[in-house]
Each structure stands twice: as C-alpha cells, then as structure tokens.
C-alpha cells in the first residue's frame, strides 16, 4: 500500500460527522456547540482588540482610569454642586462614579460592537467562523477597561472611608447583566450597521441621549413612582441601580426596577440574536 493511501485510511477512520451546507432556512437556533468549539478564536479576538487598543494610544491603560474619573469630576461640579441633584445620601462623586462604572462599560461595548462586522469585513469574506464571535468579543474586551476603572472606584471608596458591604457579593451577577445588556443591544447595532451603514453615525447621539435617560447623573427615585416602571423599560436603569446598590449597599435592593429591566434585557438579547443570525446568512454577500 502506498504511503498516501495508508495515511488516507488513517484519516478516514478518524473522520468526524458529515456537515451539511444548505441554503438558509426560516428558523434559527443558537449555535451553542459551535460557539464553544470556536472559544479559542473568541479569546484571540479579545486579545487582539485589547493589544491593539493599548498599542495605539500613548496613554493606554491610564485612559481606562482617566475617562470615568474626569467625567465624574465634571458631573460632581455641575450636577452635584451647582445643580444640587440629590444623590440618595451618598457623596456625589461616589454616587456618580458608581453609575459611570457600568455605563462606561456599556457605551464602550456598544461603540466596539456596532462597527465590528464592517471592520472585519475582509475576514468575514475569506474565512468561516460563527459571526457571533465578533460582537461577543467586542463586549468581552470591554471588561478589561472595566476592571481598571473598578480599581479606581476602590480608591474612591477608601477616600470617603466607606466600607465594603455584603451586597458586593452580588456584583458579579450585575456584571453579567450589564454584559448581557451590552450584548443584546450590540447584536442589534452590529447587524443593523452591516446593512445600513449610517447606523454608526447615529450611535454617538444615541449614547448621549441614553446617558441622560439612565440613572447615572441622578437617582431613579427622582422619577415619580407612577412612571418608574416605564423608566425601568430602559434596561440600563436596572443595571445601574443594581450596580449602585451592590457597590454601596444603601437601602433595599431595587427589585421591581430590576425585574422590569431584566425582562427587557432578555427580550432585546433574544431578538438581537435572531436578527443577527438572519443578517449572518447574507452578510458575506453584502458587506
């Protein structure tokens, strides 16, 4: 037997199951198995995004601290001191920073995921991988900056002599919620932007508007109770109020707000996944 056919037989013996390539169907399902198979690629994309970001800026990691810090200072001056926005008994800097922490993560993740399909257009038209990996990696790579900003928050807490609270144990749960929110909206945006290219120009305005529609600068309690549930339809409401509660442990957890917001997050996430999958079937042809 020749060398080639012996090798071929060995390969045949270890052959995996047959894969069928068919035209896109009406139904979609979440490719969990496939995503798990491509987890190393996800890791590499996250690694790539982080490496590139830090290579290109002179300030690098410092930006992850400076941005929330400076924003917090401006907010404290104008909203806290001059406008006297109530801050639920907390020092205003702590109040606003605890809201900025999840917010900045969310805004950065949206920015990254909106353009990710278009940015990686060359890749998408030359290699196969489940396209979901791209917005997921955009959302995950923001966690590094989040971690650095969080350390700054610990410094601020120390400055105001605030002790860590038991509620902090809930922090990972809220982080996951923030991630899912960013992912849900990110999926919609990246899919929309791949088809309608002007979405990314709308984004900065949208983020700006969303900032003021969320309890970053002011507390949710500012909203009259009657309308608070409408206010909670903004998924970031639940995330931010939840974060704030977990970080400083003031009062009762905002359960009702959380329930409404989480419901919205799940709806956005599921619909986002569906829309993204639909876009994926044609993306290589139109991007």
């Amino acid at each position: 037997m020749s060398e080639g056919s012996m090798a071929a037989e060995a390969l045949l013996a270890s052959r995996p199951a047959v894969l069928r390539i068919v035209p896109p169907s009406r139904w979609w399902k979440l490719p969990i198995q496939e995503l798990w198979a491509y987890r190393e690629l996800l890791y590499f994309f996250v690694w790539r995004d982080i490496k590139i970001r830090y290579k290109q800026t002179a300030i690098g990691a410092a930006w992850a601290v400076l941005q929330p810090l400076l924003t917090m200072l401006i907010f404290t001056l104008f909203f806290g001191r001059l406008a006297h926005i109530p801050s639920e008994g907390l020092p205003y800097p702590v109040f606003s920073y605890s809201g900025l922490l999840p917010w900045m993560y969310f805004a950065a993740a949206l920015q990254a995921s909106t353009n990710t399909i278009v940015e990686n257009q060359r890749l998408i038209t030359k290699v196969y991988f489940p396209r979901l990996v791209l917005p997921i990696s955009s959302v995950v790579s923001g966690l590094v900056d989040f971690g650095i900003s969080f350390l700054m928050f610990v410094v601020i807490m120390a400055y105001y002599r605030m002790h860590p609270v038991w509620a902090m144990l809930w922090l990972p749960a809220f982080l996951v919620l923030a991630l899912l929110t960013a992912l849900g909206v990110g999926l919609w945006l990246s899919a929309l932007n791949a088809i309608y290219r002007d979405v990314r120009y709308v984004l900065p305005f949208m983020v700006q508007f969303w900032l003021f529609a969320s309890p970053v600068v002011y507390p949710a309690s500012l909203m009259p109770a009657k309308w608070r549930w409408v206010y909670a339809l903004n998924p970031m409401t639940g995330v931010i109020e939840g974060f704030r509660w977990a970080l400083v442990g003031h009062g009762a957890p905002p359960i009702r707000l959380l329930l409404v917001s989480t419901g919205v997050v799940l709806a956005v996430l599921i619909s986002g996944l569906a829309y993204f999958q639909k876009m994926e079937t044609t993306v290589a042809d139109v991007v």
Partner: protein, 410 residues
C-alpha cells in the same frame, strides 16, 4: 455514496446585481417609507425588478478522500464562489453540499493579519483565524518561522515588513494548516519563483499525507503537477470534469484559439496565421517529443492570405514556469499568399528535460499579424548529463568532458 468526502448536489448561488452598488442607509429607508404615500407608484426602478445573476447553477460533483482536484476556468466563472460555499463563508441559494471533515480555506494570503501587531503575534492570530488551536500554533511555531525566513523580524510590527515578507509569513502560517480538506484559491500565484516552488513543495507534502485538496489556479503547470482530476467551471456550471491531462488539453486549446489579438471572434484573421508546428522527423514518434541532443530542425507552418512585405518574425522558447529560455527575430520577411514553412535548424537544444513552449509571431510595420503560443508543448526527454547525486537545478543540459592534469609536483 462511498468515500466521497465532499459531495455537492445542484449547488446554486444567485446574486443581486445593480442594487448592490450603494450601501443602504437607514435614512433612505425612512425617507422612502415617509414619502411612499406621496409617490404615484410609477417609480420603483430598483425594487422588485432588480437583476439577478446566477454565479453558480446546478453544480454537482463528488470528491473522494485524498484526491487533489483542480478547479479551472476563466475569471468570473464561479470558482471562487464555489470555494466560498464549500468554506461556509456564503450560503447557497439552492442545492446542498456535504462535507466530511475539517475544512481549511486559503482564499487569501494574510487573512487576519493586523499591521500594528508584531510578526509573532500575527502568526498566532492568523493561525487561530484559520482554525488552529493555540497549542497547535505553539507546537508548529518554529517550523512556521523557519519556512517564512523572517526570524529576525519576529518582534517588529507587521507594518514594517515588506510586502514580500508579509506574503511569506502569511503563506508559512497557511501552509502549516492541517485540515482534512484544504481549499486553495490562487494563492500560490504570489511571491517570487523561489518561494512559489517552496509552497508547491508544501502542497505536495499535504497531498501525500492523504488530505483532500481543491485547488484553484490559472497556472496550468501547477495544476498538472498537483492534481489528478480537474473540474472545468464555465459560466457557473461544470463544463467538463475528468483526468487532468485530458481536460487541460481541451482547456488550453479552447483558450489558445481565442488568444490571438489579431484573430477576430468569427475565426477570420488578417494576412497571416500560424497553423501548426512539429519537429522534423522526430525519433520518438511524436511530433513534439525531442529526445536527442544532436542537430534538430523545427517546422512552423504559416497560412498567408495577402502579401506580407517587410515582415518581422520573432520566435521565443519558454519553459514550464514561463521563463524565457531563448528568443530570436529577423526582419525583411516577405510572404506571398499561400502556405509557408518556416524551418529552424539547431545544432543542439541542450535544455534540461521538461515541458517547453514555443511562441512565434509575425509583424508588419509595427503591427502584429499573429502571435501564437504554440500547442502542443515541446517535450524534451533527453539523456541527463548530471551527477546522479547533484540536486537537479539549472537550465542547461550539456554533455562535457573533464580532464585533470598535473601542473606541479608537491
């Protein structure tokens, strides 16, 4: 269904044309929606009536494990679209395909490279994107770097690499992919000759290891060397499929009959046309096989329809890699209408054995009357004058004698 590792049935791919020119913008969609009630309904130019083209239509074939298949066809025939469907980059519009193995697709060199990252980082990134795991890349890292010959620049950002270095590194990563099925799209056309040879060698290793390869190329010599079977795609459908030699022969004659600029679409020509060539009284019995290093004559037949005055005639000999071996020309060629025979006599043609092609041309007053890349190729099958242990390189095959004489005593 047997050992088919790739099976396609009725694959079709339809693209929309025209409307693809402009990207859609949300504001356009919104504007259209808002102004819809105001339009008289006579305006939908680009709507339902958008044109479609079928890039692939009803393509069916089976590829067995371990086969190396060549995909040939003119540009735009649908070869890349077929590879994209088999790579799952794009979905078919109709039909289906079944793939029984891990697919690695090389549709482009340097997929995933980022200019800001270093050479080393790019190897990892590109390897991961092509489908290798981190452990696999680490294991092959040294081999990849050695193959690419860029050891010294591993830690420099890719943007400082020359394009040649980038290509070498990109191919080195791709060459070390070990999928069961490899789909290659014309990427072996890049790089200098030396590097191309290296890449071809690697391809041959891959095929020897029992893997299946589908290989798109415009270079017939590469197809000949690697592929056992060829699929000829034209206009989105399979025109012919079969053994390499046979299909390539048909393909080349189809190409060459349309090749001459001076030949019009209906086959008519102006003034002169080369019709055939042969070796004078070939020993080997085939009119294009040369097996002697001694004197040989070549005949080229020209058909002339109108008088040619002060014609310029050129002849060139190319090897299988399209390198020029020899060229010669003469002026003041005068031809009356009718058939003419150009007889070239050479005392010897000391070229190393292989496949060569003649190219003959006839010009008048600076205008080309005919330029013909002769078919069939000239096959030189002479006795080799080289030490059996020497690596076979060089262009010439010259018998020589060596005499060692003593000049002084110690």
């Amino acid at each position: 269904m047997s050992d088919a590792v790739i099976r396609a049935e009725g694959l079709g791919k339809r693209y929309r044309v025209g409307e693809r020119e402009r990207y859609l913008a949300l504001r356009d969609i919104l504007t259209r929606a808002i102004t819809a009630p105001f339009r008289n309904g006579n305006g939908r130019k680009n709507g339902r009536g958008a044109d479609h083209i079928w890039a692939l239509r009803d393509v069916s074939f089976e590829i067995e494990q371990g086969e190396v298949i060549g995909l040939i066809g003119r540009n735009g025939a649908g070869k890349t679209t077929l590879l994209k469907i088999l790579s799952r980059i794009t979905r078919p519009t109709s039909g289906f395909a079944e793939i029984g193995g891990r697919v690695g697709s090389l549709l482009e060199v340097g997929t995933g490279f980022h200019p800001e990252l270093t050479g080393r980082e790019n190897v990892y990134l590109s390897g991961a994107i092509l489908g290798m795991g981190k452990v696999e890349i680490a294991r092959k890292f040294d081999e990849i770097v050695a193959f690419s010959e860029v050891e010294r620049f591993l830690e420099t950002p890719l943007k400082h690499f020359s394009s040649g270095m980038q290509t070498r590194l990109a191919f080195a990563v791709a060459a070390h992919l070990e999928p069961e099925i490899l789909l290659v799209d014309e990427v072996l056309a890049v790089g200098d000759l030396e590097f191309q040879k290296k890449c071809m060698g690697k391809m041959q290793d891959v095929s020897k290891s029992g893997r299946t390869i589908v290989f798109v190329s415009h270079q017939m010599n590469q197809i000949r060397r690697l592929c056992s079977r060829v699929l000829w795609i034209e206009g989105g459908a399979i025109r012919e499929a079969g053994a390499t030699a046979m299909i390539l022969g048909e393909y080349e004659s189809a190409l060459s009959s349309g090749k001459s600029k001076t030949r019009r679409a209906d086959g008519s020509y102006d003034a002169a046309r080369f019709v055939r060539w042969s070796i004078e009284s070939p020993d080997a019995g085939a009119p294009n096989l040369l097996n002697t290093l001694g004197a040989v004559s070549m005949h080229f037949t020209v058909e002339v329809t109108r008088r040619v005055k002060s014609g310029h005639h050129g002849i060139a000999l190319f090897n299988s890699e399209r390198q020029l071996m020899w060229a010669w020309a003469t002026d003041e060629v005068e031809l009356e209408p009718g058939l003419h025979d150009f007889r070239y006599t050479f005392p010897t043609l000391p070229l190393r054995p292989g496949s060569y092609s003649w190219q003959v041309s006839l010009w008048e007053n600076g205008e080309a009357l005919d330029l013909w890349d002769c078919l069939p190729d000239l096959i030189i099958a002479t006795e080799v004058h080289q030490h059996p242990q020497d690596q076979w390189n060089g262009i010439l095959n010259i018998p020589c004698e060596l005499e060692i004489g003593r000049l002084t005593t110690a």
